[in-house]
Point group: C2
């Protein structure tokens, strides 16, 4: 047998065969934009179709993130994968328009931070669409296409929330898609996702914003005196309100008990500041969970 390990170079078609031939991304923010950049890099022979406002599309064209673009969904007719990457409630509206714009069978997923609402709405899709909710958990200090990066998902979980028995094959394709971007795909139920994310993501965000607002109102011009502790603790306070309005509105029943749990801890502290045992117990708990959080993570 000859040694066939040398790579076969095909000048016009390098890279892996695409898992999906024509990917339509609706919304080129941090997540949608990063998926576009990753897809173009991984599957140069595939097509990336994007829908967003004209100025965002121009930026994306300059960065070679997309092939076909328009500010209305009429360009997505041929897509075999549709990714809803707008804020959650806008994704719900887009979902209702897919039958009108997409001409063939297609896999549909989304990248929203809450899953029950979109999974529920997807039940109304015609049967030629297979919907599996998704949530790539890559984050960055800033949002928008300007912050998008092809490697945003590297090493980060990408959660999928399959809700029908018939979606196994689709789930496998989406797992392969997510893995190709460097993400670590996981499957769980939409309700479990929403409960977990209320604590892991929504509570820290709302706390960071509330803390910054409370401290700013009290400290005002003295803020620059603060040390790195406050700077780190309030990094999320720079997040834009728009996507968070949708997250809060579609996950209120899960975020509310998370807020209650924090308020209970803060109230216990307020009433026990002079009681060393109260402080010690809280810090011991916090130390232990912080260690768990950092397990296997680089600082």
């Amino acid at each position: 047998m000859p040694d066939v390990r040398l790579p076969v170079v095909q000048p016009r078609d390098v890279g892996q065969p695409p898992i999906f031939e024509k990917i339509a991304i609706l919304g080129l923010g941090l997540i949608g934009g990063s998926i576009a950049l990753a897809a173009r890099q991984i599957w140069p022979s595939g097509l990336v179709i994007a829908v967003d406002s004209k100025d965002v599309l121009e930026q994306a064209m300059v960065k070679h993130a997309i092939d076909v673009a328009a500010d209305e969904p009429y360009v997505i007719g041929e897509a075999d994968l549709v990714i809803l990457a707008a804020p959650v409630r806008q994704n719900l509206e887009l979902l209702a328009q897919l039958d009108e714009y997409v001409e063939k069978d297609a896999v549909v997923t989304d990248v929203g931070s809450t899953k029950r609402a979109v999974v529920e709405a997807a039940r109304a899709l015609p049967s030629r669409f297979t919907f599996v909710g998704g949530h790539p958990m890559g984050g960055a200090a800033r949002g928008g296409f300007e912050a998008a990066r092809a490697d945003l998902f590297k090493g980060r979980p990408w959660i999928f929330t399959p809700h029908t028995d018939g979606s196994r094959e689709t789930l496998e394709k989406l797992f392969a898609f997510a893995s190709a971007t460097g993400a670590v795909p996981k499957a769980m139920g939409a309700a479990e996702h929403d409960r977990l994310l209320a604590f892991l993501s929504h509570l820290p965000q709302l706390t960071g914003s509330a803390l910054m607002a409370a401290i700013g109102a009290a400290a005002g011009e003295a803020l620059p005196l603060a040390g790195r502790g406050l700077v780190d603790t309030t990094r999320l306070a720079a997040s834009p309100s728009r996507i968070w309005q949708d997250i809060a509105a579609t996950n209120g029943d899960q975020i509310r008990p998370a807020l209650e749990a924090l308020i209970a801890r803060l109230t216990e502290l307020r009433d026990g500041l002079e009681d060393g045992a109260v402080i010690e117990r809280l810090f011991d708990d916090a130390n232990r969970w912080r260690e768990k959080l950092m397990e296997g993570r680089e600082l």
Copy 2:
């Protein structure tokens, strides 16, 4: 006139003339240890006397941070500057012992994170001591001498809280001392310091700990799924409880309203999650104060 700009090199006495000849540091943690390292570097002809447990003193000796050391204060008799660098309530006890151990006139300062208690206690010192409270606001992710660095204070505020009219000359010397370490010295009243720090430092710390404890209890083994947002927001949750028991106990009346202010914001959020205007107002506030916080700061 000859050009006298060339430096005069004195092989056995390089560096600036010491502002204080014999500095006694009681407690070689992150702050006390960093002051020792800085002082030895800036004023090699001066003497650094340290009091701490034997194992800490050994580490400090290995790093050439100190000249004279003991685990009891009998070594500080000759000091012209005494720095109380133990946890706040231990500093109060040390203050009461100074008359016994220090033989001559001396300037006394501390590095604690609350100032009213120590300033009040210092009023009982014999008149040969001049006390000015201090708070160098250098921080690090970890405490203890292992984390001490000569440049910990570079560019950070070092607040002094003079409380008698007779301390102007001493304040000037302490300002010069702080400036020499790279810190930016500032003066304010002890009450103003304690009110401000309750918001700028004590509230973020307690919130970081409470948030980590609440999230850990709810998410448990799923914690590693969390993103960088949670990691940053809870960095302070690694802080040790010991120094915070003292801070909470000596600044409770100021920390309590700070906790109340945060609880009020979180409660408003809890009751308005589905109201876009509530989220928008909070995020706009937070965005604005976050920008103020970051003014002129490197990310």
